[in-house]
């Protein structure tokens, strides 16, 4: 009997993922209504539960993909993977008001540039303070503070060591996680309640997973606007990291 159940969970993983996420959403909704009296959005709670499960899954399996590394839950990897994520993000654009998007065009583009430079400088500075003072390590860790994709892409291009790569990726993942969790709480403080500020938010934060999850938990209507700018962020980061930013760091450190 158990073997039959195991076989079904393995071969029909996507359906199992629908059930798992459905249960998480149901629990989150109940927690939101009872424990927080609706003050914390159910999506935010669901995302935190997801992250906790990712931690438990990562500890149990020793893998890098959280819950998805446990074979019974591998369908979660498909449901939350890049393909369906991008598919659903694009779908949210159906309700985009192009006049709103156009109004934030220039400041949106500016926010991407500032949003890449600021975390890079901070990340590289912290790396220096912790003794990673060579240009390659500083650039790689700084790039990780941009996103967890820019970090390894930059590190691979520059030939960084594997422990520096791990630190770089970890910094990017922590950034994504913090953005996911903190956005709903900080949204009122930073004026994140309209399409224009959502586009700036997407450009400055850049981490697509953090931005879209954070906005989903704040106000789902803002998701497409944030996604519109954040989709260019990682590309800009990968472009600047191993080239202009590395040369700048090398010029400053002298080696």
């Amino acid at each position: 009997m158990i073997e039959t159940l195991e076989k079904i969970l393995l071969s029909q993983g996507l359906l199992a993922a629908f059930v798992i996420v459905g249960v998480i959403m149901l629990v989150s909704d109940a927690v939101s209504r009872t424990l927080t009296r609706g003050r914390i959005h159910p999506s935010a709670i669901a995302i935190v539960i997801g992250l906790c499960l990712a931690y438990l899954g990562g500890r149990a399996s020793g893998g890098e993909k959280g819950l998805a590394d446990i074979s019974y839950f591998s369908g979660v990897g498909l449901l939350g993977g890049a393909m369906l994520r991008d598919f659903a993000i694009v779908a949210t654009a159906f309700e985009v008001d192009i006049r709103e998007a156009g109004r934030a065009g220039l400041v949106g583009a500016a926010s991407i540039l500032i949003g890449v430079l600021a975390p890079f400088v901070l990340g590289a500075g912290v790396a220096h303070a912790f003794g990673y003072s060579d240009a390659v390590s500083m650039t790689t860790i700084g790039a990780g503070a941009v996103t967890y994709i820019v970090g390894p892409v930059t590190g691979a291009a520059l030939g960084a060591s594997s422990d520096v790569m791990a630190l770089s990726i970890a910094t990017g993942v922590l950034k994504a996680v913090l953005v996911m969790v903190a956005t709903p709480a900080l949204a009122p403080l930073i004026g994140l309640d309209n399409p224009r500020s959502a586009m700036i938010f997407g450009g400055v934060m850049g981490t697509t997973s953090g931005v879209t999850a954070g906005l989903a938990a704040t106000d789902p209507k803002l998701v497409p606007y944030g996604a519109l700018t954040s989709t260019f962020y990682t590309g800009v980061g990968c472009l600047l990291g191993p080239s202009a930013l590395f040369l700048a760091v090398r010029a400053v450190t002298g080696g």
Partner: protein
């Protein structure tokens, strides 16, 4: 028909991914540059074109809106497969760098957003 909506969405997403990869290759970057943005622009353009021709049926809209409503569950599944263990294990340097970056970025959003300058913002 619902499948027309799903097909349109899939077509836009695929074309966007292709264009994004091509831009990446063109500028010599190992990443998809703006693929999702291109796909979104295509979908918005398709919606306006269909609306003008009066061919934006309820079924077609339903095929797209189902997936836009699946967005949050998909994000939860995405959260469940982050490498949280690595983020926690990274130690004090990762903690300081990550927290500092996010705090400064939030402050930047507020500065760039210029609260009073945005007409849509509630007071």
């Amino acid at each position: 028909m619902i499948i027309q909506g799903v097909a349109l969405l899939a077509f836009c997403t695929l074309v966007g991914a292709y264009v994004g990869d091509l831009i990446g290759i063109l500028i010599g970057v190992k990443a998809n540059v703006g693929g999702v943005g291109v796909a979104m622009a295509l979908l918005i353009a398709a919606r306006y074109a269909l609306m003008k021709q009066g061919r934006l049926s309820e079924g077609l809209k339903g095929g797209v809106s189902f997936w836009s409503m699946m967005y949050i569950p998909i994000v939860v599944a995405m959260a469940a497969q982050q490498n949280v263990v690595a983020a926690v294990r990274g130690g004090p340097m990762v903690l300081i760098a990550g927290t500092l970056v996010v705090a400064v970025s939030f402050a930047l959003v507020r500065v760039l957003g210029g609260r009073s300058a945005s007409p849509g913002a509630g007071s």
